[in-house]
Symmetry: C2
Subunit: 401 residues, 2 copies
């Protein structure tokens, strides 16, 4: 019995691989500050649970494969408010942004085709691209340039006859980079000029900490309908990760048809979660504002604290709720394992996502970590304290410095 | 921009492709008897909704990628009761049996590898196999042999160096064929002898209408741990299709690791549905008995009625809740379209799944339909009446006979 080549080309999730060690540490009584997963702690709007509690269908039936009309309509209205006109058929509801990405990759990638992705990038992209037999061509960035990647020359130098798509996360995970309007336009132009799909993962759209960015959406350009694929989700926007409700937005009819075949094959997205998600889109503007303000405060705190730790290097992220930081350790993966197995301060320890899997280029990111600032300021302060203590102890005990 | 080869190799779902026409007919005021989708009408046990209503987490968070421990434990206990010992790691929770199938195919198939599947088979298998670049080698059956496929010689004649798996549905969809113990043993032996994965889709396990079959499960053979992959779901068992909760069961460690990587990449299955599903496994044995009795009555009625329609040929299915029937029409696909667009009797019409897409072999199944007996007896009686009237009218008006 053989495991497939594509499965073997995938790696365990760097956000999830330490889960068994974490469970073990917790069983032994340790308290872990989880900054490894982009799992917001903010409350999910009560509307979600109210919609679900009111639901009493008798039989819990399959919904339509493209999604529940009530949810599609809610999303259509939401996009209307941010200046993007959509038809109902332009939206396909998926089981989270994850399924949106997997089905998009399966729909447009053949073996040995390539997707250009600025690195560091969300490591699960690798799995989705590899599942379809494709490969990632990494667009390198520099920490000292704040990981900014919108450089036409560098992007075009990576395009080959096998390139099928450019895939970006805006605002960025893990870097927090947000594109300016000019940069978005340039990337749209490149996709158009080279007949490439432009996959924009915009699940962090509402979390931009400089007002000049507004609520960025590539969908406002109306000349790239054939190229554009927007990946979206309720997970981050509404603190509703466990709903597993997302969508693909595209006006490319051929792609709609391809995606629909995959959607039909898996029948439907969970009924109750779609109902709950539809209710989420009724929250008022204040909800978005408050969430953003909370994350902005946290970002400011984390950056301040990180800059106080000797040897740590970090750039201020402009969006999303992550920051990449270079640590003065030999190997962030080893350091994380040590934090779980051999370290605690008064019974506490801390988890990040080690940086190397966020890079395609071998040798990069080994001393970097992604920190998700998804706890309140008090907890983040303690987590940063634990990081500082952990680094000092690790350098002394393990690295012998 | 190109659509992938694999997406182009997939077809729209025959159960779902008429959905837009059905919506149109319903808008025009027609009542449609839906026997096209295996969507049971039985009530979902109230435990599901109770569990969900009691849930008030504040933040709806990601669950663990392999599934919620409470659900894994519920499934482990359920398997224990049917004589199959599982470790928690042997179970990976998926978004329905559909995701279980897709991730299994992605984990074991390379381009040009083959899966042996008895035909007619559940058409979405094609999409899952094609998504991974594989192809289906159809094991032909004969209606006059009741679609029975457990013929060692015929199976072995299809095995090539590219064969990776044998995939069966037991009890069968769309044929209702249930394997005897001897047949199950023989197929297990073939998989073992040729080092093939044996993918058993057993989502209809509880629906066997001859007591000699009991509750069939390939997992009782303890010598095929390396080969066996069981696909399971709460959809049919508990009339909970809209929950989208299923699982893959395998003791093959390498496969577990491959599947887990894909599970991690999509983060988690919906939290609330997992909680509800766990509660479903607490129903008492009476629930299974009553459901089966209801479907048995329906099967008997549908078979009786079908046999009364001139020109219809049908074998009595032994399990699941489908029957394949040959109709005296030129093209079941055309007939279905006509039923929706040009036919009604007192405002009513009826939907089936046309048969051709259930076959890999070109030219087969064109005058067959799959009927899902998922309505109560009164509705089924009316649906069969509509079918009889539809056939007579279609033959006269369209076929000119």
């Amino acid at each position: 019995m053989k495991i497939s080549i594509n499965a073997n080309r995938c790696e365990p999730s760097p956000m999830r691989k330490f889960h068994p060690l974490a469970v073990k540490a917790e069983k032994e009584g340790k308290k872990i500050y989880h900054l490894n997963i982009g799992q917001p702690d903010l409350k999910t709007p009560e509307a979600y649970f109210e919609a679900i509690r009111a639901f009493d269908p008798g039989t819990l039936a399959y919904e339509a494969s493209p999604g529940m009309p009530v949810l599609i309509e809610a999303i259509r209205k939401y996009y209307g408010k941010i200046g993007v006109d959509l038809e109902p058929n332009d939206i396909l509801i998926t089981t989270g942004g994850s399924e949106a990405l997997l089905l998009t990759c399966l729909s447009i990638l053949d073996p040995y085709t390539e997707v250009i992705v600025p690195e560091p990038y969300y490591p699960n992209y690798t799995t989705f691209v590899h599942a379809a037999g494709g490969r990632i061509r990494a667009l390198p960035t520099r920490p000292e340039e704040g990981y900014r990647y919108a450089n036409r020359k560098r992007i075009e130098s990576l395009i080959t006859k096998n390139t099928r798509a450019i895939m970006i996360t805006n605002p960025g995970n893990p870097t927090g980079v947000v594109l300016t309007q000019e940069e978005m336009r340039m990337i749209a132009d490149v996709a158009k000029a080279h007949n490439l799909f432009l996959i924009c993962d915009e699940v962090y759209r509402e979390f931009c900490y400089d007002d000049k960015f507004g609520v960025p959406c590539m969908g406002r350009f109306d000349d790239i309908d054939e190229n554009l694929v927007i990946i979206d989700s309720v997970s981050k926007r509404f603190s509703a990760c466990g709903a597993r409700v997302g969508c693909v937005v595209t006006k490319n009819k051929e792609l709609q048809q391809a995606l629909l075949k995959f959607c039909q094959s898996r029948l439907a997205v969970a009924t109750i979660d779609q109902l709950g998600a539809a209710a989420l889109y009724d929250v008022d503007a204040e909800f978005y504002r408050e969430s953003k303000e909370e994350y902005r405060k946290r970002r400011d705190l984390v950056i301040e604290k990180l800059r106080q730790i000797p040897g740590v290097e970090v750039e201020e992220p402009m969006g999303a709720f992550y920051v990449m930081a270079s640590l003065p350790v030999d190997d962030a993966d080893k350091f994380q394992q040590w934090l779980l197995e051999s370290f605690d301060h008064k019974g506490d320890t801390v988890m990040f996502a080690p940086g190397a899997p966020f890079y395609e280029t071998p040798g990069k990111g080994y001393n970097e970590v992604r920190i998700a600032y998804v706890r309140d300021c008090k907890e983040l302060e303690r987590a940063m304290d634990l990081l500082a203590r952990g680094i000092a102890k690790y350098r002394y005990e393990v690295m012998g410095e």
